[in-house]
């Protein structure tokens, strides 16, 4: 609806403020990144791109990243869709527990899985040793296969969560109608069930691709020479001959081009599946029976078991006695004592401080954006919305580099402060939080607000007293998810942190790199404890059947 002759009110001011914020903290850094990539000593030159494509070491890393992300996406779909199908169409025993564990896997810090698998399947890992003692050939967790393995276990729950939503929206009558026309079994699954969920499959696939593509921790820990682009950027940044910002910027630009292309392909594919289902009769899950039922249970429990294994093992290891990387017999709290010396309290307080501030900022901004987009639909507000979505296709490492380029020189010297960590995380999480806020906003009829206005409430007060409380649970559950991802964020932080601003995940990473495995396990365990706590809070506000990411 085209409203007013652009009546200037409090919301116009909000629009302009948001635009200014985004221009300064997002557009300006991206601009700096682009400039850095194409200027050498003040002269326009594409030498960095030339170098990138002339050495196989460089361009192979992008190729590797895409390959990993694609393979991870395919496997996540292959595992996640059946899991979700069994979950949605059958009354599996302990289905709630299954889903909660699924959530926990995907909420946990990205590289903790990788680290735990090193302890299990690494050169001197528990399982490796066990297999070796049986005289069987051992498998290696390092390299391409390992990265895919670890990432799939971490990311397939995203597909499950997406698909659960899609399956729940299917109207049972559609399936019955298909059956009445003789379309049954696998044929029906393919032609009806899958076709109806295609938009969701594509959406889930994109998210998994982006997460996998941008993951720094996993390839850094278990890549072992299998180079991926976030690691490449990190190495350019921490190069032995000082930071090569120029080359890191060029690599970032190339990475964003790749993600943008993938993003566009996904959007084009999705546009072929535009329809809405009005679900009056949701699927009624059946009781699984016979061999099929047994296999379904087996599949789901083994999968979740394997995915949870590293988490549990880490907790166990945090209590084991270690001498650096060497495991000693016996259990104690020594690791926790050592961790205390290694900035444990600072890491925890930094993590909490950063998360709380970031969360407050993004929730406020996301709610404002949601309001502007839904209620004040105009060019300016859609521009703001589009800009706020940009980080969706920007891997964390790219955001990290951009911020360093933009804010390391006076008068804008924020690098090395808590502030820059907050900015990076807020930017990273903005697309997700603003999406969920917009979805919550859409559900509120405009007349509720008009009622408040007609009763004499000023615009801002109608918004704060009526609209925001009504968005309530939607905002809270979105916020808790954001909180978790902020706590477990790694890929932008690893470029931006220093000793003063270190967080739990970064301490974990530092401890692993330093070879103090026991201490790393402590940091990881505490991160996980925080994650579990968040999950409990989240489930308090969200019905298990309405989980969305």
């Amino acid at each position: 609806m085209s409203t007013q002759k652009a009546r200037f009110d409090i919301w116009s001011v909000v629009s302009l403020c948001l635009l200014a914020l985004f221009l300064f903290f997002l557009v300006y850094p991206i601009g700096r990144l682009l400039i850095e990539a194409v200027y050498t000593d003040g002269i326009f030159s594409l030498d960095a791109f030339q170098e990138f494509f002339s050495k196989s070491y460089y361009y192979v890393s992008i190729f590797n990243s895409v390959k990993i992300a694609l393979v991870v996406t395919v496997f996540s779909l292959l595992i996640g869709i059946p899991f979700s199908y069994f979950y949605s169409f059958y009354r599996l025993k302990g289905r709630k527990v299954l889903l909660i564990l699924c959530l926990l896997c995907t909420m946990s810090a990205p590289f903790i899985g990788a680290y735990a698998w090193i302890l299990l399947l690494g050169n001197s890992g528990l399982i490796t040793k066990f297999i070796a003692s049986l005289g069987l050939p051992t498998v290696s967790i390092y390299g391409f296969g390992g990265i895919v393995f670890v990432q799939v276990l971490k990311l397939f729950p995203l597909i499950v969560i997406y698909m659960n939503g899609a399956f729940r929206d299917i109207d049972n009558s559609l399936l019955e109608a298909a059956e009445s026309m003789g379309c049954k079994g696998l044929d029906r699954f393919q032609r009806v069930t899958m076709a109806l969920t295609m938009p969701t499959i594509l959406a889930g696939a994109l998210l998994v691709f982006m997460r996998s593509f941008a993951d720094f921790g996993t390839p850094a820990l278990i890549g072992r020479g299998y180079s991926t682009f976030p690691v490449l950027i990190y190495n350019q940044f921490l190069g032995e001959n000082g930071s090569n910002y120029h080359f890191a910027a060029a690599t970032s630009v190339i990475a964003v081009v790749v993600t943008a292309v993938i993003f566009i392909i996904q959007k084009v594919a999705t546009s072929h599946f535009k329809f809405t289902i009005n679900s009056l009769h949701p699927i009624d899950p059946k009781k699984p029976q016979g061999v099929g039922g047994f296999l379904m249970h087996g599949f789901c429990y083994v999968l979740v078991g394997v995915a949870m294994l590293p988490q549990l093992y880490i907790v166990n290891m945090s209590f084991r006695n270690y001498n650096n990387t060497i495991l000693q017999p016996g259990y104690s709290l020594k690791n926790y004592q050592k961790a205390m010396q290694k900035l444990l309290t600072r890491s925890i307080s930094n993590t909490l401080l950063i998360s709380v501030i970031t969360l407050a900022i993004i929730v406020v901004i996301a709610v404002l954006i949601a309001y502007l987009v839904v209620r004040r639909s105009n060019v300016l507000n859609h521009t703001i919305d589009t800009i706020s979505m940009l980080p969706y296709i920007m891997p964390g490492a790219v955001i990290g580099i951009s911020l360093i380029l933009a804010f390391s020189r006076k008068p804008l010297a924020f690098t090395g402060t808590i502030g820059i960590m907050v900015i990076a995380l807020a930017i990273r999480r903005m697309p997700f939080t603003s999406r969920s806020a917009t979805a919550a906003m859409m559900k509120i009829p405009i007349s509720i607000e008009e009622a408040a206005l007609s009763l004499g409430a000023p615009r801002l007060s109608a918004f704060v007293k009526i609209t925001v409380p009504m968005m309530g649970s939607g905002i809270i559950s979105g916020a808790v998810l954001s909180f978790v991802s902020i706590i477990t964020e790694m890929s932008s932080g690893v470029i931006l942190y220093n000793n003063r601003t270190i967080t739990l995940t970064l301490s974990t990473y530092a401890a692993i790199v330093n070879g103090t495995y026991g201490v790393a396990a402590v940091f990881a365990t505490i991160t996980m404890a925080l994650t579990v706590l968040c999950l409990i809070v989240y489930l308090h506000f969200t019905d298990l059947d309405n989980v969305r990411m």
Binding site: E450, L453, S454, L455, M470
Partner: protein
């Protein structure tokens, strides 16, 4: 304090689309005024322009002498009741009703008293401390009414307030609304697409189509002497039949179906003449005769009959091929079987005649004016 509403040459555009081209109407102080029309006719748009939720692209809107075109909705002195009630789900019934008072610097005690008074008026005082989700649609709508009235607005605006209720509750609620409006004596603008509801509740009705008021007047006049063919068909059921008007000694005569000729005394003198006309004959304005009972009339064949208790509906085909619907009081064991030949006569005093070309009424007694009604309400 209640006001007179004057709207002059109102224009509403959405981009290039003009929804209301040029609309003027005056609503009297204390009047219950209804905007009636099919969906998309601009009635809700007009109401929201009065409320201030839609921009005004042209013309002037005045409450008494004060122009309100650029006044914020909250400062216009309106109370609004929405189609979906728009009850704040996060506040109790009492908090909902008190909501508007909070912006009027009222002491707490007085606020409570006022809220109590209006909750009693609409009979929701027993639920004051409940949350809205525990209440039925009818109760929620009454809360919405109390909430709109408690701030003592100059104008009460209601946007299809009953359309979400079931049929029985709708009839109940419209009586309640009418009673309360009368007690409070507030100028009320009411939007609905339900013509029966509009008739039951309104002092005056404006029948709208495509952003234009076709007929503005009292319910009975709109029903009995509609200003044009659209109003005749939209309000109540009617049959449209083509006829030929002729003049005999200054007296209008209309011939239908070539042979049935009858004199009309209700045609405006200036409209009498030779021309093609459209007759609007309501189903109850026919009288049915079995074949042979009368010579003068329209010959027809019954196609179908529907027995509805007190009345029986017949669907019949005239010799000209035109289909008509007829309503007759049901008699004992006398339903006319499909296929039977009948003869129809017309109650010429009630039938309306329109110019076939302009579709405007040719009758005396049409009272169509957007000015203030002559007699005080």
């Amino acid at each position: 304090m209640s006001v007179t509403i004057s709207i002059e040459h109102a224009i509403k555009k959405y981009g290039n689309l003009t929804v209301i081209p040029d609309l003027s109407v005056k609503i009297a102080n204390g009047e219950f005024f209804t905007l009636l029309g099919p969906s998309g006719c601009g009635k809700t748009t007009l109401l929201r322009m009065i409320a201030g939720f839609n921009s005004i692209e042209g013309g002037s809107f005045r409450f008494n002498d004060k122009e309100i075109n650029n006044v914020e909705p909250g400062k216009r002195g309106i109370g609004m009741v929405f189609q979906n009630y728009a009850i704040f789900p996060n506040l109790t019934v009492r908090k909902n009703v008190e909501f508007g008072l909070k912006y009027r610097n009222m002491p707490k005690d007085q606020m409570r008293q006022e809220a109590d008074k209006f909750m009693k008026l609409v009979h929701v005082d027993d639920y004051a401390d409940r949350m809205p989700e525990q209440l039925s649609g009818g109760q929620q709508q009454r809360i919405a009414l109390a909430r709109a009235l408690v701030i003592e607005p100059d104008v009460l605006l209601m946007d299809e307030p009953l359309s979400n209720l079931d049929a029985k509750l709708r009839v109940e609620m419209r009586t309640i609304i009418k009673r309360i409006q009368h007690e409070v004596g507030i100028t009320t603008v009411y939007v609905t697409h339900d013509q029966e509801e509009a008739m039951a509740i309104s002092d005056r009705i404006a029948v709208m189509k495509d952003g234009v008021i076709h007929h503005c007047g009292k319910p009975e006049n709109i029903y009995q002497r509609p200003a044009d063919v659209f109003v005749a068909t939209f309000i109540g059921k009617t049959n449209l039949i083509t006829g030929q008007m002729s003049e005999e000694k200054g007296q209008a005569c209309i011939t239908v179906c070539g042979s049935y000729r009858l004199p009309f005394h209700t045609i405006r003198p200036d409209a009498v003449g030779h021309k093609e006309v459209t007759l609007s004959i309501r189903p109850e304005e026919f009288k049915v005769w079995r074949a042979g009972e009368t010579a003068e009339g329209l010959k027809a064949i019954v196609r179908d009959s529907v027995f509805l208790g007190p009345n029986t509906h017949y669907f019949a085909q005239l010799e000209s091929g035109e289909e008509v619907e007829i309503i007759q009081e049901s008699e004992i064991d006398s339903i006319i079987q499909p296929g039977s030949s009948i003869v129809l006569t017309i109650n010429a005093g009630k039938v309306n005649v329109f110019d076939k070309e302009t579709s405007l009424s040719l009758m005396t007694g049409v009272k169509n004016s957007v000015e203030l009604p002559e007699v005080g309400i």
